[in-house]
């Protein structure tokens, strides 16, 4: 592992010894975990933020090549004609601009989170596609990713499955390993991490725009 041992309050002597051991005498396994290409699928949801934090805190090594891929779907182009056509073109342009701005805010938020983990070297791929899953798989091929990191929808106890359609697509079509970062174990009667459910069963804050939050913080 290339990351230097951090001084953690309360770290046990055993874990400190382990850290020093891993720095001093690389094992065969350690040498193998080098120069990995990691592709992290990112969107504005809390799920992909969780996936990023999981990678950063549990998996990341300084020699990783970290690439983020953000896929947005093209804005719907409603056909209009005559005067309506002109208005539609304006709406479309505005929608594209908003998409670009949102992607920028997301990138800023991602950079901030990465920096907090000491991850500085990152790259972004921005893609527009009607099939985000397919775009992620293509990006993984381009980057020859050793691992694709996906956040699951994590809808919890109201629905049986944690899979979102994009994660589902990638897991089923990918020729490269992919990890599905599900939410941490939760009690049945409450949802951890701020995912509270309304009476209709739709998560109230599940898809909160993380990028916008960063923008607010920056002022």
């Amino acid at each position: 592992m290339a990351s230097p041992p951090a001084a953690i309050a309360g770290a046990s002597p055993e874990s400190k010894a382990q850290l020093q051991h891993s720095k001093a005498s690389p094992t065969a396994d350690e040498q193998a975990v080098q120069n990995r290409s990691i592709l992290i699928a990112i969107d504005r949801s809390r799920h992909s933020e969780r996936a990023l934090r999981w990678y950063a805190s549990k998996i990341h090594s300084n020699e990783d090549r970290v690439v983020f891929v953000n896929v947005t779907e093209p804005p719907d182009l409603a056909l209009g004609f005559g005067m309506a056509g002109a208005a539609v073109a304006e709406i479309y342009t505005k929608a594209v601009e908003e998409t670009v701005e949102a992607a920028k805010r997301l990138a800023v938020n991602v950079k901030t989170i990465c920096r907090s983990f000491g991850i500085e070297k990152i790259r972004f791929l921005e893609r527009i596609s009607h099939s985000p899953g397919q775009a992620i798989i293509e990006a993984a091929e381009e980057e020859q990713a050793d691992l694709i990191i996906l956040g699951s929808r994590g809808v919890g106890v109201l629905r049986r499955t944690f899979l979102g359609s994009v994660s589902d697509y990638v897991l089923h079509h990918s020729r490269r390993s992919a990890v599905l970062v599900v939410p941490a174990e939760q009690h049945h009667h409450s949802e951890a991490g701020g995912q509270h459910y309304s009476v209709q069963g739709k998560p109230a804050v599940e898809d909160q725009d993380v990028g916008d939050q960063a923008a607010k913080k920056e002022g």
Binding site: L19, D29, V33, K58, F117, R160, L171, R175, E185
Partner: protein, 162 residues
């Protein structure tokens, strides 16, 4: 998840690898070893199996005691062989491994339960790979685990055909 500021060192991780003696499960183990394994990680090799279902569930014809004993013996031998083979690989690669076996008729739920019981930070599974259409056949076990796991799961496809 625990979030640490600045340069973080990884807290000791516990990884559960589902093994069944197949080539795709061996491939998943190899992938884990070369891409994720770090020293000090606690690896649980999890295998699940059962006697043939007709010997376990009641059927019209009662199974003879000797049939059951034979089946138990052959299961025990198969599991022991797999354990030996996997633990030997761990030893060769200086991995800290532990074998875990559970009887079950349904491997998918068994993997989910085992990973919850062990509070695994990660579950590693292999899949069979592509079917005749592009959508891959993950296998019923992988399908179940990725839909129901409460712990992160990595799905390792088979290596590309040479």
């Amino acid at each position: 998840f625990c979030i640490m500021g600045g340069q973080s060192s990884k807290p000791q991780q516990r990884v559960l690898i589902a093994v069944d003696g197949s080539s795709h499960s061996q491939n998943a183990f190899d992938w884990y070893r070369t891409n994720l394994a770090t020293p000090g990680e606690d690896v649980i090799l999890f295998h699940t199996g059962s006697l043939p279902s007709h010997l376990v569930a009641p059927t019209g014809i009662p199974a003879s005691d000797s049939d059951v004993r034979q089946a138990e013996e052959s299961l025990r031998k198969r599991v022991a062989r797999l354990e030996e083979s996997m633990m030997e690989q761990c030893k060769q690669h200086s991995m800290q491994c532990r074998w875990k076996y559970a009887d079950s008729l349904s491997p998918g739920p068994a993997v989910v339960d085992a990973s919850a019981e062990e509070k695994a930070d990660l579950v590693v599974m292999g899949t069979r790979g592509l079917g005749t259409i592009r959508r891959t056949i993950l296998g019923s076990v992988s399908e179940f685990v990725i839909s129901h796991s409460r712990r992160p799961v990595v799905v390792v496809p088979p290596p590309p055909q040479q």
